[in-house]
Symmetry: C2
Subunit: 492 residues, 2 copies
């Protein structure tokens, strides 16, 4: 995996800003050129949206945000970065003049990745002195959330340029799909345009409004495509006989409607008005900002669902998140300092854990303490393997003191003292702290070791008994925690 320290972006529209946000939040410095005076404000808005989404999307902390610099020219950008994203309007001449300026002010090692959604890389690179470094990396809006990026080389693009760029983009959570054959509009926009054409006909011929068409998508096959795409979905429609059955059975009957509407509706003012007005009726009650936040919220949650279900785009997110996290190295018991309470749990408070005020809800405090107990068990050897084969500690009694509030996105950690730990019994005391060391809550638990087959109380195995006793022997020399052995309502 290859990561970079800086990137250049030429053109800070919707797509350029999305690239900028993805780079910055991955700790990459970004040099931007866009002649529009509105560019900095637009970029700022997109970066804020991206931050808002990433906070909810990722369990890991992001690296320190990269630095954003607006340059005064394409040449300045070209001198500052080894990878330059070109995201200027879809005119071949405009793009070629950007490449010209880059080539005249940087060495031939700088890779140029065009965000074009349709122009052939062979055409883009036609006039370049070092055409091997030009490729298409076509992302999808919002670039900071959708993993797909189509990678297309032209006749003269080097394999190295494609590979290096793919590596760089993988590291920042994208899915580079290398398209082997260069055709106009690549793959996704081919499919999108075919639907777009058909949809415009439906509106043009008054068969359906824009809203009805969107409903036909999002209440139906859109929900399938978000997870499986077209072919895998149809494989299922074929039943147990799979794709061969589907295509043999439904192929011929699909042929018949194929003969319709494959020419292009004329792009009249009337059609433009019709589509715009229907779209206003459909979505006009929301501002574009509101729609974008709603879209991002849904995307974040879809991606999290898929991550949880280990499927499709969720696997990309999982890899990304794991690469970001700095996994706590497996604790070596012998290296622990047992003469103080043990560090047992750390997290950043996710969206799902808070109430409408942004405060962590009551039951999540117990979830934190439950995680702390799990870690304490793992420390003495009652880890996942042990639990699946031998037994576990079950909580029989809990006492919690709520001392302070904590907000979404804040970091917390717990410490744990073993009050008693012999035979089947385990008596724990946890403290939950804000990262500033402000005490948020304490919990006291009584646990009993249980054989998971008989579900009856049982002794832990010797290793666990031995380690537990070592911790207990050390911890019983520590001061008794404030709040121990309290009943609810005892005087302080």
């Amino acid at each position: 995996m290859k990561s970079i320290k800086s990137a250049g972006v030429i053109g800070a529209g919707v797509i350029g800003s999305g690239w900028i946000a993805r780079f910055l939040l991955n700790g990459i410095d970004v040099y931007v050129y866009d002649p529009s005076t509105e560019a900095p404000a637009n970029v700022d808005k997109v970066v804020k949206n991206a931050e808002r989404s990433y906070k909810k999307l990722l369990r890991s902390d992001l690296p320190k945000k990269g630095t954003l610099s607006f340059s005064s020219s394409v040449s300045e950008v070209a001198r500052s970065a080894k990878l330059i994203i070109e995201a200027v309007p879809e005119r071949l001449s405009a793009k070629q003049s950007v490449y010209d300026e880059i080539e005249s002010s940087s060495n031939s090692e700088v890779i140029i990745a065009s965000s074009t959604s349709g122009i052939l890389p062979s055409d883009l690179q036609a006039q370049m002195s070092h055409p091997d470094r030009l490729l298409v990396a076509h992302p999808f809006n919002p670039v900071y959330l959708l993993p797909l990026v189509e990678m297309v080389g032209g006749e003269k693009t080097s394999k190295k340029a494609i590979e290096e760029t793919s590596n760089i983009l993988s590291v920042i959570g994208m899915f580079p799909l290398h398209i082997k054959k260069e055709i106009p509009a690549f793959i996704a926009d081919r499919l999108l345009e075919s639907v777009w054409r058909e949809a415009l006909w439906l509106v043009n011929d008054n068969v359906a409004t824009t809203e009805e068409i969107d409903d036909a998508i999002r209440y139906g096959f859109g929900l399938r495509w978000a997870q499986m795409g077209l072919f895998e979905t149809y494989r299922l429609a074929g039943g147990d006989a799979g794709m061969r059955h589907f295509i043999s059975q439904f192929g011929p009957c699909l042929e018949w409607p194929w003969t319709h509407l494959t020419d292009v509706p004329e792009f009249t003012d009337e059609l433009i008005d019709k589509v715009s007005n229907q779209s206003d009726l459909q979505s006009g009650q929301y501002s574009i900002d509101e729609l974008m936040q709603k879209r991002d919220d849904n995307l974040v949650d879809f991606l999290k669902v898929l991550k949880n279900n280990r499927w499709g785009a969720g696997n990309i997110l999982k890899d990304f998140d794991e690469r970001l996290s700095n996994p706590k190295s497996k604790i070596e018991f012998s290296k622990l300092d047992l003469n103080q309470p043990l560090l047992t749990f750390e997290t950043k408070i996710p969206k799902e854990w808070v109430d409408y005020n942004g405060h962590m809800t009551e039951s999540r405090y117990l979830e934190c303490f439950s995680e702390a107990t799990t870690e304490m068990m793992a420390i003495v050897g009652a880890d996942e393997d042990y639990i699946s084969s031998i037994g576990s500690y079950f909580t029989v009694e809990t006492h919690i003191r709520h001392l302070d509030e904590v907000l979404i996105g804040e970091k917390i950690y717990s410490k744990t003292q073993v009050i008693f730990g012999e035979n089947k019994k385990l008596h724990l005391f946890h403290w939950l702290y804000h990262e500033s060391d402000r005490l948020l809550a304490t919990a006291e638990h009584m646990l009993i070791h249980v054989d998971l087959n008989t579900r009856a109380a049982s002794l832990p195995n010797d290793d666990v008994l031995k380690r537990m006793s070592m911790v207990y022997e050390a911890h019983k020399e520590l001061p008794k925690p404030d709040g121990l052995n309290r009943a609810v309502g005892d005087k302080f």
Copy 2:
């Protein structure tokens, strides 16, 4: 809203079985005719899949499942139900002979809804004696999960038939989309076929494999379409200027690739082989059953996400779920029997609440008790309105005893006794029971009333104080709960 007691289904393939499952789980008796000897086993499998999904999808209990009867003929079905779904293969003559048989053995009131994905209802009804009762109700696989159903009338279809069927289908959680103009393949399949044609070209021309095409969909625009469809998504791409800007800016540049690939690839054995083999490579490591369960799991979670975010298909689910639930009538305080602990919480344990063993996890016990506290507050008048304008009770201390385990799908309820309730202080004791009255856990809470603006302790308003005191005065005459005032580890 109109609901029915029974429905008929002719043809129990993938689509017919999906209809059967949706009807049965909505408490509707279903009469089925399918000549295949495998039909009962196939239906059974689909119904089981649907049950598995609904258990996770819905908070409410479903009504008592309908009865499934396999009939020996179309006529028998026609005599048993007022709504008949026709889901036989896509041949006009096959469908027409089914209608013939229905008409010759039932009165003219019986509605016939065809699941055809492309044939015009005017053609379907051409030879009928009572063509007004024939319409298309085109659903999407899996019928038990996807809300969309396209409603299309023919020239002779009565408005009444469309309206009644739409009402019936709304009640069982579907989204009937009435298509005003009859065209072959309606809306969704028009769009699907345009993509299908384009995708087959891409495979045919070796531009991409089936897997690459699916990835281009599900890592990119598929995630957008599941929530917004096509036009609303493009509205966002236009930035603040919206759809008019988008269509003016991108219309012309999209016109250019439109001129490609609009004819139909020849349906040769070679193309069939290519698609089938690529699909095997892509998805062959999963059985069709595994893929279906994965698909349903993802769909369930997407629909829940959208419900939570109050968006699109989630709104349909929300209405469906609320219609199913038997909402607890708003409690009238004056009618409560205060001389016993109060019933405060009831639920069925959802998937998210259990560990890998299917047992409710530790922290969810506190979530139940937290709900019980919320209900107790609502009983004395500290309800949602009160909380948003005046104040709330914050938990400062909790003691839980875990006494027994409980499994996914089981029903539980809680009772609550007020131990102390005056001034700013509220001391509660909850019992959590399995529906069989087996005691699962108890919780004791100390709460303090807090002003939500200053976030400092404060007195409740007079109404809440008065009601709380009435409950407290009555409850202090009750026996002290077993386990009250315990500290963790006290001897029993």
